[in-house]
């Protein structure tokens, strides 16, 4: 018997640095309102790495950007939403208060280093401007610090790089610069939105290793947004799985892989090709497509593609249930526990 609780979401939990409550985001489009996020509630534990995993369109990027309130004017956040960072509700901050948080207490690493850096300004300036603003350093002090940062992220001849422009660096180096920019002011929370998707496979592991070592050194809390379960497995302490704008399962990494409760998670795990599969084995794919989130249907959103579907699934939306420990899932007919 499971109690319909909010799982690991008690209000006086001092282990959680970030607490998202009932976050809904809607975009105004020409085709009508697009519900990108629907009643998302989430805790991020201090000094741990949470991976948010989902397909394209699941809402994971919208979620990461709404924490820093970087969504454009077309986005509408639900009225009852709250995002607690420490004691403050980020959604209630005025503009200058929010600007004081951005870059300083919460920082973000973006997906595509090609477009994340201003192409006509030298790297050095893009590194120092944040430090000059938040840490009130003068130009020389900021520059010295920037050189140190470049070294920490593994860039060779850092002093020379300061005056270079983004197009003079390779993709991997550019992403290191983006990371250096993000940690420049010693943020408490680092959000990495698909930091390796735009990079070569060979460079991906390096970047992820870099992020992990930086996180450990500084005891930063990290949110790692990715579509790749393998990445989540290797680098995250906790994993939250998103589908069609909702969190459908959340658990510590080991628990998720050992015992997924929500069928979608199980299907995701199944679709990862394994080295010990027989040769020429057909790749497992989940039938169907994620729903267009224009119309919110009443039932579970995964129901049309789920092989464990029952009548109740089409009728009502399941809430997040606790599975014991730190695991929560959203399903009327979760996977059976292994004996």
């Amino acid at each position: 018997m499971s109690t319909p609780a909010t799982g690991n979401l008690s209000h006086d939990d001092d282990g959680a640095l970030l607490r998202v409550r009932h976050l809904g985001v809607q975009f105004q489009t020409a085709q009508g309102p697009l519900h990108a996020l629907n009643d998302v509630s989430l805790d991020v534990e201090r000094s741990r790495t949470l991976a948010i995993v989902g397909e394209s369109g699941s809402g994971k990027s919208v979620l990461s950007r709404s924490i820093l309130r970087l969504l454009g004017p077309a986005a509408k956040t639900s009225a009852e939403a709250q995002i607690f960072f420490g004691a403050q509700d980020l959604l209630r901050l005025d503009r200058s208060a929010m600007q004081a948080v951005r870059g300083r207490r919460i920082a973000m690493v973006f997906q595509d280093p090609m477009t994340a850096l201003n192409p006509v300004r030298p790297i050095g300036v893009q590194l120092t401007e944040g430090m000059q603003l938040h840490l009130r350093l003068d130009r020389q002090a900021a520059q010295a610090r920037a050189v140190g940062l470049l070294e920490q992220v593994g860039i060779t001849s850092p002093a020379r790089r300061m005056t270079q422009l983004p197009h003079e660096l390779s993709g991997g180096m550019r992403q290191r610069v983006v990371i250096a920019m993000a940690i420049a002011c010693e943020p408490e929370l680092l959000i990495a939105d698909e930091p390796t998707t735009a990079l070569d496979v060979t460079v991906q592991a390096e970047i992820l290793d870099l992020l992990r070592s930086l996180q450990r050194q500084r005891q930063m809390t990290m949110i790692l947004v990715t579509h790749d379960l393998g990445v989540a497995a290797g680098y995250a302490d906790d994993i939250a799985v998103m589908y069609a704008g909702q969190i459908v399962e959340r658990a510590p990494t080991a628990a998720l892989f050992r015992q997924p409760r929500m069928p979608y998670t199980r299907d995701l795990l199944r679709s990862i090709p394994r080295l010990d599969d027989p040769p020429h084995a057909a790749l497992y794919t989940i039938a169907g497509r994620p729903p267009a989130v224009y119309a919110l249907s009443g039932g579970c959103r995964y129901a049309p593609r789920c092989d464990r579907r029952i009548a109740q699934c089409d009728a009502t939306q399941p809430g997040l249930e606790s599975a014991g420990g730190a695991q929560v899932f959203r399903c009327w007919r979760p996977m059976e526990l292994a004996a």
């Binding site: 020409a30 085709q31 009508g32 394209s56 369109g57 497509r289 994620p290």
Partner: protein
């Protein structure tokens, strides 16, 4: 890894195309004004107005009134009548001159895009030289040499516009030339001229026509400038620019002599610009015919 987006439903598409109140204003009013101007230009001979050259000194410098609906100029000539006949000049210039630029400019631009090497260098250098040559001087020079008349003014302004059309034509043709259908035509044995005319040209027309509409208003102003300087269409043919120049000295005393033709020119230019703008917005921004 782009988010999946579904094609818009038919209802959504229909909703987008319904004309808004503002668009109606932006397209209907300008069309209306231009039609009025066109009407006056065409039917000037038959309208119950005094002749544009009749000087009625008794009524000289009068403001708008019963006898002269828009007033009279310094020599007592009816302003409305002169505006109607002047409209002929303006409309002729604004229709024919861009046509000249369109035809010759597109040809040059297309050639410059299609061929490389000496042909391209020569054409590009020629276009740059034409751009560097002060256009007003060229127009002035031509009218002085060939004699001032509506035809020569039109010719001069038309030639002036050739480099711009050529640039646009070339910019539109270049990406098309690399594409498959050109390659396919060439493999099928089509000659150069055939390819240029049958494959490439049709795809450039929208962009060129939009620009032509845009510079129609520029032509009107240019003709007005020439007349204002006294080197445009010669008397007795009235022209809007000339009328504005006529009233220049007595601006303080009787501003309406200059200001009424100026207002007419302004409204015409504004209407043409609004139409050109709306057309460009509907097409979604100035690319070639293929989206």
């Amino acid at each position: 890894m782009r988010a999946e987006s579904l094609p818009p439903s038919k209802d959504a598409l229909r909703a987008r195309r319904k004309p808004h109140g503002r668009t109606v204003l932006r397209m209907m009013l300008p069309c209306g004004w231009l039609l009025v101007v066109l009407f006056f230009a065409i039917s000037a001979d038959w309208l119950p107005m005094p002749s544009p050259t009749d000087m009625d000194f008794a009524a000289a410098e009068q403001g708008p009134g019963v006898a002269h609906l828009l007033g009279a100029d310094l020599d007592g000539r009816d302003i409305l009548s002169r505006l109607a006949y002047g409209a002929r000049v303006s409309l002729t210039v604004s229709l024919v001159a861009p046509l000249i630029g369109l035809v010759f400019g597109s040809a040059l631009g297309l050639l410059a895009a299609y061929y490389s090497g000496a042909v391209r260098t020569a054409i590009l250098a020629l276009l740059d030289a034409m751009l560097a040559f002060p256009s007003l001087v060229f127009a002035l020079g031509l009218t002085v040499v060939l004699g001032p008349s509506v035809q020569n003014v039109t010719l001069a302004l038309g030639v002036m516009s050739i480099p711009a059309f050529a640039r646009i034509a070339r910019a539109n043709a270049l990406p098309l030339i690399g594409r498959e259908f050109v390659l396919a035509a060439r493999t099928a044995g089509a000659g150069d001229l055939q390819i240029m005319v049958r494959e490439i040209l049709p795809n450039m027309t929208m962009s060129l026509l939009t620009y032509a509409l845009t510079i129609m208003s520029v032509m009107i102003v240019a003709e007005g400038s020439l007349s204002f300087l006294g080197v445009g269409v010669p008397p007795p043919t009235p022209s809007w620019g000339g009328m504005i120049a006529d009233g220049r000295e007595s601006l303080e005393r009787v501003p309406h002599v200059s200001l009424i033709p100026a207002a007419v020119m302004f409204l015409t230019v504004l209407s043409l610009n609004l139409l050109g703008d709306s057309l460009r917005q509907r097409r979604g921004g100035g690319r070639g015919g293929l989206s």
